[in-house]
Symmetry: C2
Subunit: 282 residues, 2 copies
DNA sequence: AGCGACCGATACCCGTAAGGTATCGCCCCG
DNA sequence: CGGGGCGATACCTTACGGGTATCGGTCGCT
């Protein structure tokens, strides 16, 4: 199977429309039809049910969609990592670390300082990204290492080491009646505050339904809390980012959040190994 | 990057010889030279240092060798899993479980029985393979799920659930003076018995140097122990396989062995999820 | 019912690039 | 200094990827 065939199939499977997929791929529709037929013939499997009115994935087709994306990511990653290795050999950029914007705001500087103090540390570029993007960036080779937060992020297909575990706190407007309580229960946060929980974007960028406001990042979130429009439960390290008119109340029964350092399997370059060793010693 | 280019590069990188690589690929040498040059041009990276006398990998080249193999495995896996999904839809073969020959001889039947008793169980094909082959079989889609034994096997790049942890025992000839001891220490097994430890094949099929005999599987191993040529420390579940003239003595200070069930990330089909659920409940 | 619009499949043509053969240039060895 | 081994180059052939034109079937609108 050639990557070209896989790219073509993934495009059709995502669009469920040969014409649109062909436009997206920058080719005409007939060669695309032929390529898909040829792929089906080569695999001996029907991937798409198509009549002249609509295109649908077979069960085998949805397997190939999932697996094909992973394979294409792996091929892209091979190219990117090779280029990065060549740059690195010529004294170029060092490691790329990715984490959610606004998370681990205390841990990250400590971690970078500790690593920078190592004898043969390389420069570390920090990439801040949105929710759920880290895994993709790691898998397709744009990043070398990530800070993830369990149980929110998935570590499936990655190697990890645990760094720290922290309790969660409810972040409320400073003037809210519950802001003086010594602690709250999750159920109370959801009901007593009268404030709806914010809605975070899903992996595909869409938002779930619900009463709360849509939020992208912590700055936006804290501003909405200060305005009395929402409330949220976050790891207690977020306290260092809190605005003056916000209050944080421990929520002992909320699930603890574990920050882990994660990297793609089979890719322990020497600088990466040193970074991981340093961080786990903190 | 096309998979053809990757296959070509991997062949050359493994052979370090354009002529041999071309023969292995079933093409002539000149197109191979051209393809590699083109790949280097496209990546903007020199992958191979070559004069007319020898070919050597650059550091970027060795990265692409490792990453390229993984990417090719992922592409192969996509094809295999798609074909299997199509078969499965037509009532074909179910899950393929792979484990080391001779290991988990007690756990495996229990596990298979428990799963077979589930309401919508599919047939499970059991594949017994040599040391260190499991990861590859999982990654390239020939198997769906494996039983691995930590700390011997690597679970890097796989998702796992722990099943059981067991202590290890020394397996000695029944007549050996130490066979009556209530327990032994690892140091004693290596020195007091006067028997050399066997040598297992490495991932590439070669054997490490040393005095002990080369062994492939447990049957062969136990026969050699009975003959008084070697001794070994194994998880205690191996007792159920012991021949009459062998003795097992606990070795409390040997690292405990954990049997885990492992599967490729992002591939939880419904039958696989059911199998994993069943096994973790045992 | 009939016409038009939409969409995937088919037919046919063209150009590129992958593969083959012959040969060169280089280096080590005898 | 000549021969053999090896990768690079030159040149040819051809298969296949891609384009245009068109068909055939289905839905929707009037």
């Amino acid at each position: 199977m050639e990557t070209r065939e896989l790219r073509y199939f993934v495009a059709v499977a995502e669009e469920l429309h040969f014409g649109r997929a062909a436009r997206r791929l920058g080719i005409a529709q007939p060669p695309l039809s032929r390529a898909i037929r040829q792929l089906e013939r080569r695999l001996g499997v029907t991937l798409l049910e198509r009549d002249s009115r609509r295109v649908a994935l077979t069960s085998a087709g949805s397997v190939l969609l999932r697996e094909g994306r992973a394979a294409l990511d792996a091929v892209d990653a091979a190219g990117r990592r090779t280029r990065r290795a060549a740059q690195a050999a010529h004294g170029g950029a060092g490691l790329v670390l990715v984490t959610k914007a606004g998370a681990s705001s205390e841990l990250l500087p400590k971690l970078l300082d500790a690593y920078a103090a190592e004898p043969d540390a390389v420069p570390v570029e920090v990439l801040l990204c949105g929710i759920g993007e880290q895994e993709r960036l790691l898998r397709d080779g744009r990043a070398d290492v990530a800070l993830l937060h369990l149980p929110f992020d998935s570590t499936t297909g990655l190697d990890t080491e645990e760094l720290v575990t922290e309790q969660q706190v409810a972040v409320l407007p400073a003037g809210h009646p519950l802001a003086r309580r010594p602690h709250l229960l999750t159920a109370e946060v959801e009901t007593l505050t009268g404030l709806p929980m914010p809605r975070w974007p899903r992996a595909d960028g869409s938002y779930p339904d619900g009463p709360g406001p849509e939020v992208r990042d912590h700055a936006q979130l804290f501003q909405l809390i200060a305005l009395g429009r929402t409330a949220v439960v976050l790891p207690e390290s977020c306290r260092s980012l809190l605005l003056a008119d916000l209050a944080a109340v421990p929520v002992p029964d909320a699930t603890a959040v574990t920050t882990v350092i994660a990297w793609p399997p089979h890719s322990r370059s020497r600088p990466l190994a040193a970074l991981i060793r340093t961080t786990t010693r903190l």
